[in-house]
Every structure is written in C-alpha cells, then in structure tokens.
Amino acid sequence: MVVDIKALRTEVWVDWCPGCGNFGILNATQRAIAELNLEPNKTVVVSGIGCSGKTSHFINVNGVHTLHGRAIPFATGIKIANPELTVIVHGGDGDLLGIGAGHFIALGRRNLDITVVMHNNGVYGLTKGQASPTLFRGLKTKALPQPNIQDAVNPIALAIASGYTFVARTYSLNIKHYVETLKMAINHKGTAFIDVLQPCVVYNDIYTKDFFKERMYILEKNGWDPVVEPGTPTETIEEKIKKAIEKSLEWGDKIPIGVFYHNKAVPEFGERLNTQIPNYTELPPAKQKIARDDGKPIITNSDFRRLFSRYIVTRR
C-alpha cells in the first residue's frame, strides 16, 4: 500500500499560531510516514501536553494524546506489548526534559525501538511563554517578567549520556533535512532522539527564524561520521561518544544540525526481552491468546499445576 500524504491529514483544524514551527514538524512528519510507506493502522503517534501534544490529532494514523510528561512511558507500553507497531513520540522541551525528564533518561537505558521527536522552542507555549528547560540562563524571552535564572539542559548530550543510540538535531523549517533525519530515526532499530529546533513566533523573540537561519549548518557536510557499526572496538565507540558530546556544546555563532551519534551495535529492548521470554518475538503480549474457545482461561488446570507445582503440597 502506498500511503498518500494527503490521506495522512485529519479533518481536525490545525490550531497552532500562524507561522508556528510546528507546521513544519507536522508536514515533515506526514511526509516521512508517507515516504516510508508506514501503514496508518500499524503506526502510532504518542504525544504529551502543550502545543506539541496536539500533533497526534492532526496525523491520520493512530494517535494517543497522553499526559504532561508521560508520552514516553505510554509509548513504551504500546511498543513492548505490540512490537510490530511503529511508535513515534512527539513532545515539547518542557514535556520531555522538564516534567518528563526521568522518563527521557530511562528510555535511553532500554534502547526500545521508538522515535522521540522533541519540539524545542525554549518556551512553554500553551501556558503563555514561561522558560523551558532548554532556555539559556540570562535570556529574557518576550513573556518572561525577569530574565531566566535557571540553566539550560543540553538535550543532545543528555540523550547520549542516557544511552540513546540515534541522536540527531534538525530544524523545523528545513523540511528536507527533517524528513531525512526522521526517516533515518524511524528506520534505526533502537531508541532515536531528534531535537527539533523551532521558532515560537509568539513567545520566543530570541530564537527566531532569522536567528536560526544565520547560524545553522549541516554536520555531515563537514565529514562528520557518527556511525558505530556492530563489531566496533569499545575505544572507537567511546571516541565517537566524546566527539558527539563535544559537538553538542557548540551553540552560538554556529549551530550544528544532523546526526550526532548513531550506534547500531546495541541490542534493542525486544532482543533483551527475548533473553527472558524465548518466544517473545513470535508471541508478544498483543499476539497471545488468553482464553480457550469456550471462554475458559488459556491456562488450564494442568497448566496451573505445571506452572505452580512448587506451591502445591500433596498430602501424604
């Protein structure tokens, strides 16, 4: 089935502010889904709360609009229960690195095959412009009564340190770059993170379209090689990690976009579950029968005695 991009739009009116960076993100996400030919019923967009949270309603694939900060654990449950689904998380910088930061880190430890797209505009848009965890200290965006006194998190370094095996940055208005990056992320067998820089036209008067346009450059054009193939020696991997983290510190006159780190050698979470449950791949939770045809539990009396024999005492 070839997916038509127009069919990936829903009838819900897209209610973001005119000029919002989210339009680029939405458009590019739909394009990537179409180009990868992902079946809408086997694809799930899981979103958090805030402007970015609405994304799941605008794409004509399964959508789960969750709680503030909890998109990652919802998505985790979906993917583990039914690994044949393609799961894409859309969250804001406040959602993923503020209220949901614990989940963001924990996901990296698992290398579960989902893609996390972070809408990064430095502010909490839907609550009218408070500072997000990616806004640098000392900055005073439009709505802030005082300059920000909290330091910014470095999302790329945090993702790498947490164990994400595909870590990239793109820009919401560079549709071509975004689409290619997202396609790579979805195709990557493991946890992928994309930091999407975007302007918030209403509340962030510092990170504007012009601000990004002047500074942004594409990493790969400068001979950057972030890929770790299976069998790579540990020292080489560590070298790539160090370089990627070092690169992530670059912010100012020049802002790199592209893939910072891409490790193909780490076992995905499903493989790890397979070590506990040998038939997990063939029979993940969503594919198991739990009842017999007559409605009785699939675990019969004799299964029960087999499984729990240690707890049954036969009287002498």
């Binding site: 979906i78 583990i80 229960a81 579950l273 029979l283 009785k296």
Partner: protein, 634 residues
C-alpha cells in the same frame, strides 16, 4: 476450634525466620493441617526484631490470629522482651542459654520508646531487666515452661558431623525453632524432610544438614518434654493444599486471568508479586509469556500499563500507597479514555512513608475518589487468599467488559501471610473480554450509541485516537457542551451497569444468621477474625452477623440497605484497620445509613480475635459507647 495451636517464632531480621516459617508450613500442610502464618517485620534488612505468628488447625483453614500463644521460640534474647506477655499460662518458650544474662537496657536494636515501655513494665513486675530474671518470673508466676538450649552447642553438632565451617554453622539457625516445634508438636522426620526439601529443592547437602539438625533437636525435646502440643489427626478434606502468600496467589490469579504485561516500580509490600510473576513468566511454547517491566517510577508504571492495554493486552501494575499516590493523574486518563487496566493495590500503614512494612486499611476512600474530575472506576477488595485469587481474575473481566480502571485492594496482612488453601479449579472461571469491534464498517472508538462502545486495539485494521481531554466519537479533543454531556454520562452510566450485571458475591458477602440482632461491618483482612467473632458471640447468646463488603465503587446500595435494615442502627459495628472507619463512611455515603460505632486498629498490626471479642463485648454491653481502639501486638 478448641484443638488448634498458636505459636510464634521470633528473632532478628535476616536470621532465617522466613525459612523456618516456610518449612514449618509445608511440613504441616503435608501432614494435612490448615495453617495461617503472619509475618511482622521492621523496614530493615538485618538486625531488627521480626516474628512469625502462626495458627495451626486440624479441621479448617484458619485465618484468625489470636493471643496468647502456646509456644514462643526465640532466636535471640530480644524476642522474649517483646513477647513475654503473649504467652499462655503453662505455655512454652524456647531460648538460647547464651542470652540469659542479656540486659534489656543494653539492647541497641530496640528503639527508645519501646524499650522504655518494656523496662517500666519489667521493673514493676519482675524487678529486673535481665532476661534470666524474666525467665524465672515467667516460670514461677505464670507457670510457663522454659526450654533453655545452647544454640551454639546444637550448631556445633553440624560442625562435628559434617565438617561445616564454624563460621557457616550460624546459617542453620533457622533449624533450631523448627526442631523445637517439631518435637513439641510431634512432627515426624518424614514430614520434616518434606518441608525442608520443598524449601531447598535440589540442594542436597543443605537439605541433609537441616534435616539432621531438626530431627536431632526434635528427638531431644521429645525425650525431655514429650509432645504436649501435638494436635489431633487432621480432618481437612483437601488432597492437595496450596501453600501461598497473598502476593503469590494474586500473581497466580493475574496470570490465569490473562495478564500479559505488568509494569511496576519496587515498593513494599507489592514488589514480591511482580518478582513472582517474572520468576514464572514463561507460560509454555504455544502460550507465550508475561512481560514484567520494571519502570523508573510509578508514573511510568501506570502509563506503560495503559499503553499496553491500548494494544488489547490485559495489563496491570502492582503498588502500595506511595506508589498509587503517584499514579493518580494517569488513573483519571484511563477513566476518561475508557482504558481497561488493573491496579493491584497492597495497602500498608500511611500516610506518607508511614509504616512501610506494616498493615493498614486506610486507603479505601482515597482509591474511591483519587484523581480529579469524575470518571467511573471499580474498587474491589479481597478478604482472604481464595477471594484474592478469584478477584484477580474478575478484576480483568470487569476492566475489559466496562472499559475502565479497576483498583484491586489488598492489604499487607494478606500480602505477607502464608495460608494453606484449596487448589483453585480454573474451569470455573471465564475470560470476558467485553464488546470488541467486529471488523465491519466504519469505526469510531467512542461510539455514543451505546454505553459500552466496541473496543478495537492499536494495530487492528482501523485507526483511532485517545486523549486525556474530553473528546468526540473519534477520540479528538472537543469542548462542545452537548458532546461533553453525552460522553460524560456515557462513561458514568457504566457504574449502574456493573451493579446490575455483576454477581453479588463479588460485591459483598454476608455471614451469620438470617435475622441478626447485631451486624459487624468490615472488609479486607478483617473478614475471618470477624467471622470467628460472630461465632463466639453466638455462644454468648448474641445473634450476630458479619457483612463483608467487597465492591465499593460502584456500591451495591440497595442490597446493603436491605441487610443493614435488619438491625437497629446502634447494633451496626464497623471493624476496620483505620481511624475513620472508612468502609462505614462509604456505606453511609451511599446508603444514608449512619454508622458511628466501630472497632478501630491503626497500629499496623492485624486485629486479633481476643481483642476483637473483648471490644465487641464492651460495645454490646455499653450502648452509649461509640468506639474501641485496639492496640495489641508488638
């Protein structure tokens, strides 16, 4: 019930009491006795005082614990200081000779307040805080038989016979109480070996050492004391007996009930359940396995379970009070988005961290109303191990049939006590998955034409949306007032359906005469102590019944009104492990029947039969008295 035996084994955490309890319970079950074994312990891994309190019956599966006990075996000197008031006249205590000169004042593992209380009592009654003097007092004044053994000499026998390193011999300490009990109860060598084998399956050397030690001690004890605590031959009509804790049996019920994904964050006293499931997760080549997923916190645990449920999997999480507090926001999401989900909730002593390893029933009202906004949920409470098994299956059926979260309430008493129960017959249970989309026609997830919309799963041939916002039939956000009212009502109407369609035995049970004069009202683990109490009251001339509430949300109002109307309002007495009498409050809320007399215990220890009876007599004889607060147990 006269020919039953209650006993205690006490010692520091980490000294193998659990092992003793498991071996003893298996041996007794093997002979055919019914056993309940409650474990009381501090939030501590090694050093602080813990004990096992056990009742053994030849004729029934007991659940009601009571004091005094006939036998106390102590691993350390501290134990007797905690329990010298718990022993029956002419009962038995077994002690280590080496601890006799211990002065209570010098024991560092007893906290200050507790120590002072005991010291005051000892100074008053014994005139000394030295163990030897206390023992003398118990022998002289209470005619208690003291069995003084030298534990080191006993363990040295292992060193001599098997060449076990002296430093390792202390690991066999748990055999000493088992040996003493086996002697006094006349548990034979075959039964002892059976219990030891079950505990250490396959580890032949350890089995041999333990059996040797236990049987040797038992023979020595018998030669001096005989077997004065021997029970009559068992008459229990069970060929096979399950020996399970509450955590174990709930885990089994969930697996039978179709659980295939459990997410959890470690917390006492719930975590053992998840460990149990993981240890038994492979169900067979053709059946698959249960994923047990340890999350980073309880926020993630419930969120992952919801996510899994959206794919059509029976999912659950297991937690206790502090964990559930964190899950509350997501609970509302599940209610709003009509997600079937089971939360197995083991209550412990609150608030905050409270009494992490002690019991309580103080979270009922919290579970009934947790999370903002109004949404339907089921709150279902179990009163014993058999109910817990059944309810674990029923919880999933209710969750899927009505597409809502089900909170299955248990308590620490049930979770950590080991009972001997009948092996359940799986064929009496049905898996009811509710209305599922049949694959024809256009699909909308929240079809408002019926109260229960057909459910499709993520990954099916259709697509759908879920949201925490109010939503339209597709699952997209809406703020339309008409749609809002329709969706809101559709969700809440499920509660009426549940009351109409659910068999009464899952909502409440009534025990006692058809026309009682007095009704005890309780829930959870107070069930059996209350049932025993009404039997005693009957002998004393009171026609008393026990109303055991199980389902609190929705609440079976009409039936409960009919039962409670049988007695004078002043003759309704609530029995609960909380201060507010929460089940009574809930009953009042839904039935309009005000219940303000009750027996309360919130010390973290279970309600014991002897104190309950005393309190009931007090309330029955003093009609103006409103409440009795129970505090027995260390």
């Amino acid at each position: 019930m006269d020919k039953e035996l209650e006993l205690m084994i006490g010692g520091p955490q980490g000294s193998g009491l659990d092992t003793t309890g498991q071996i003893l319970t298996s041996s007794l079950a093997y002979i055919g006795y019914g056993v309940i074994s409650d474990r009381e312990y501090y939030s501590n891994i090694t050093g602080k005082h813990s004990y096992i309190h056990m009742k053994v019956s030849p004729a029934r599966v007991p659940y009601d614990l009571s004091y005094p006990v006939k036998l106390l075996t102590a691993i350390d000197a501290e134990t007797l200081f905690h329990h010298y008031n718990d022993i029956d006249e002419k009962g038995f205590i077994a002690l280590d000779e080496r601890g006799l000169d211990t002065n209570l004042e010098k024991i560092v593992t007893i906290e200050g307040f507790t120590k002072q209380m005991i010291m005051d009592d000892l100074k008053n009654r014994v005139g000394s805080t030295i163990l030897r003097d206390l023992v003398q007092y118990l022998e002289d004044d209470l005619k208690i038989n003291t069995i003084i053994l030298n534990y080191k000499e006993i363990l040295d026998k292992l060193v001599d016979k098997y060449g076990v390193a002296a430093s390792l011999a202390s690991r066999y300490m748990s055999s000493i109480p088992m040996g003493v009990i086996s002697g006094l109860m006349d548990i034979d060598a075959e039964a002892i070996e059976y219990g030891v084998r079950r505990r250490f399956h396959g580890r032949e050397r350890i089995i041999e050492h333990n059996v040797f030690l236990i049987t040797t001690i038992a023979e020595d004890i018998k030669s001096v004391y005989g077997s004065p605590l021997k029970l009559p031959k068992p008459t229990l009509d069970m060929k096979e007996i399950m020996v399970v804790s509450g955590n174990d049996i709930v885990a089994m019920g969930k697996v039978v009930g179709g659980l295939r994904f459990q997410s959890y964050y470690p917390i006492t006293p719930a975590a053992d359940e998840s460990f149990f499931i993981e240890a038994n997760q492979n169900l067979g080549d053709d059946k698959g396995g249960v994923v047990v997923f340890q999350t980073e916190d309880e926020l993630a645990a419930i969120a992952a379970a919801i996510g899994g449920a959206l794919t059509g999997v029976r999912t659950a999480t297991a937690t206790s009070g502090p964990g559930f507090s964190l899950m509350v926001e997501a609970l509302g999401w599940a209610g709003n988005s009509e997600v079937p989900l089971v939360i197995t909730y083991y209550q412990r002593g609150g608030p905050a961290t409270g009494l992490p390893t002690r019991g309580g029933q103080s979270d009922l009202l919290f579970t009934m109303f947790a999370s903002h906004g109004e949404f339907p949920r089921v709150v279902l409470a179990s009163g014993d191990h058999e109910e817990a098994f059944e309810d674990s299956i029923i919880a999933f059926n209710l969750a899927e049939k009505y597409q809502l979260p089900v909170i299955h309430l248990l308590d620490k008493y049930l979770a950590n006590s080991i009972a001997t129960i009948r092996v359940p017959d799986i064929d009496q249970f049905t898996i009811d998955r509710g209305i599922i989309y049949n694959g024809n026609g256009d699909y909308v997830r929240f079809d408002t034409s019926k109260t229960i919309s057909p459910r499709a799963f993520l990954g099916d041939d259709v697509i759908m949306w879920h949201t925490g916002n109010e939503h339209n039939e597709e699952g997209h956000n809406t703020e339309d007032p008409i749609l809002r009212e329709r969706m809101y009502r559709k969700r809440m109407e499920k509660l009426e359906l549940i009351i109409k369609e659910t068999p009464k035995k899952y909502m409440y049970r009534y025990y006692g005469p058809e026309n009682p004069e007095v009704i005890l009202l309780g829930w959870g683990f107070v069930k059996h102590v209350s049932i025993s109490a009404i039997k005693h009251l009957e002998k004393e001339g009171y026609k008393a019944g026990y109303l055991h509430l199980k389902m609190f949300m929705p609440f079976p109002e009409e039936d409960i009104v009919n039962i409670l109307n049988k007695v004078d309002r002043n003759n309704i007495i609530a029995v609960e492990n909380n201060i507010m009498l929460q089940a009574a409050k809930a009953t009042s809320l839904f039935t309009g029947i005000r219940i303000d007399r009750g027996i309360k215990k919130y010390t973290g220890r279970p309600i014991y039969l002897h104190e309950l009876l005393e309190a009931l007599r007090d309330l029955l004889n003093n009609r103006n008295k409103k409440e009795v607060v129970l505090t027995y147990g260390s």
